[in-house]
């Protein structure tokens, strides 16, 4: 077969689908493409080989990171490879299958991966980033913005309640997906809202730094990262961030209050560590 995309790992190098580079981070490249059917949009995340790193180490890290990301997503969406069909679920007797499926539809589903070749294919999330939506919003729509921020707080609370911390919460890692029209045909642009409108559902993306943790400290740091990122990206809307925290505390209940108290400590400490020696 001819190599149509020599820069991509197999099997995508010989695929005739279209690949559009969406983002390039330090770790990975994100492409928009299609999966199985030309109307099914998919996100392809490629972790290219790092030539500066020893090959053995590089392979190990790529494998670990792709698997960690996929496991978190599969757990949260509660569908896909691991928990489907007759496969045995790993069950913690104390916790049950806590968190499985807690964010069904609110995180991209995993469709395939290959840790040897370094790729992960996920469901494509339609819509805009929350960052873009806030930039584009109608200036007078404070109600809409408050509602959106409350939605963000609720989704993060669900995530934490499921035993996962995201590790890199920013308004660019939150998508605002327009609500599907009644017919709900995928791949069609019907559901796209007017740019100024803030309606839709919030979907979490980019779990590259996510870890499974239920500690208050990790949760508080997760919120702190979001707060800092939000403050620097949306300085004018910074005061409304309280909406996120309020909704978070409401959704997570008692443990949410503990995390919010912890957040105050984290804020005081900031990133500052006193330097010794």
């Amino acid at each position: 077969m001819t190599q149509l995309n020599p820069h991509l790992p197999p099997p995508f190098d010989t695929s005739s689908a279209e690949f559009t580079l969406i983002a390039q981070g330090a770790e990975s490249l994100l492409y928009r493409t299609t999966f199985l059917h030309p109307n099914t949009s998919a996100a392809l995340k490629v972790r290219p080989e790092k030539k500066w790193r020893h090959q053995t180490l590089d392979k190990r890290l790529t494998r670990q990171r792709i698997l960690a990301e996929a496991r978190v997503l599969v757990k949260l969406s509660g569908e896909g490879i691991a928990s489907g069909g007759g496969g045995k679920k790993v069950k913690d007797p104390k916790l049950g299958v806590q968190g499985v499926g807690a964010l069904r539809g609110r995180v991209p589903a995993v469709w395939g991966l290959d840790w040897e070749k370094g790729w992960l294919v996920m469901e494509w999330i339609e819509g805009r980033t929350v960052k873009q939506a806030i930039y584009d919003r109608d200036a007078g729509d404070e109600m809409g913005l408050r509602a959106l921020l409350g939605e963000v707080g609720r989704v993060v609370a669900l995530l934490h309640g499921a035993g996962v911390v995201h590790g890199d919460l920013t308004s660019s890692n939150l998508m605002l997906r327009p609500l599907k029209p009644e017919t709900g045909q995928e791949g069609e642009e019907k559901g796209v809202a007017k740019p100024g409108r803030l309606s839709g559902e919030v979907v979490l993306i980019d779990f590259g730094l996510a870890t499974q943790s239920v500690s208050d400290e990790d949760r508080a740091v997760d919120l702190y990262v979001l707060e800092r990122a939000f403050g620097s990206t949306h300085p004018k809307e910074e005061a409304l961030f309280a909406e996120v925290l309020a909704a978070y505390g409401e959704t997570l209940g008692k443990s949410g209050k503990v995390v919010l108290r912890r957040l105050e400590d984290v804020r005081m400490r900031g990133r500052k560590k006193s330097m010794l020696g």
Binding site: A26, W52, H54, K272, L276, G277
Partner: protein, 382 residues
Amino acid sequence: MPIAIGLEGSANKLGVGIILHPPTRDLTPPSPHDSAYSDDERSSQPSKGTPRSPPVQILANLRHTFNSPPGTGFLPKDTAAHHRRWVVRLVKQAMAQAHVQLEDIDCICFTRGPGMGGPLSSVAIAARTLSQLWDKPLVGVNHCVGHVEMGRAITGAENPVVLYVSGGNTQVIAYSAQRYRIFGEALDVAVGNCLDRFARVLNIPNDPAPGYNIEQLAKKGGIMLELPYAVKGMDVSFSGILARVEEMAAKMQQAETKNEPWLDVATQQPITPAELCFTLQETVFAMLVEITERAMAHVGANQVLIVGGVGCNERLQEMMGIMASERGGSVFATDERFCIDNGIMIAHAGLLAYKQGFSTALSDSGVTQRFRTDEVLINWRD
């Protein structure tokens, strides 16, 4: 012409340097009719509107290192005694070498921190004494800022992401709004400390430097064993890696005494100190390059500057070079004269601050073991 003398002694190196800053070029923008400045030339200048600072002149750069015997580290008390013993001799020698008179000197710069308390204060006492004796103002300098500024001055890197790696510090730094901001750092021991302590476990000599000797040993190794890899966002942690590699060393030494060498599973080759050094270097340097790359992606920079004693390591420079070239950028590093702690960097950073009107009153000239890089106002950059 501004001349400064700098005294450094935050760890086991005592450094005395004398620097001269040639007067800054005319800052008024060139006339558009001036043929000496074509538009092309101006637009190719990396920074907007700021003229490149003229090269600094190093009049003297002397260093004396306190080395403890193999298997031991340097203790603050002995190191402070070493600095006290050598500081007068080094200052005299530097003054003679620089051919400067007392009246030529504008200020006495010294390291205020961070570092080890004993060595810092013994050198600070020397600086205060000189200041009183010669009637010159004192300038207290942040050691980390000294490294960054000297690296920039030597390499000409305009606005790089800086990896500062030494025995006491591990930081990824980028400049923003008159501060050197710390984007990532070691959460526990510094990378150089991790290497130094491993050298002690293997009884590798501390002369010229434990890290240097590990680097030479690692060149003979090639087996990659599995160590923990601890990158958290843009921060790193080395203590667990050190503990694991120490265990490996114990296993190797035990196998040696029993005369049944520990063989690598994949290659059936015996594990030697060289293999352990190789594995340790490859692992910790990969972590450092990774957080540097992340910081570069974050701030959108493509230049990297490596400073600090560990920055002399050629393997680290090589790895960083590959990473930078993959990102379409370049890496800047200096040799051991400027990488390893020295007096000239203190003189340089001190003189930059002094020219902005900064000086340290005698009553405020106490040293501090904790002195963060981002506490210093960098008002000589814009």
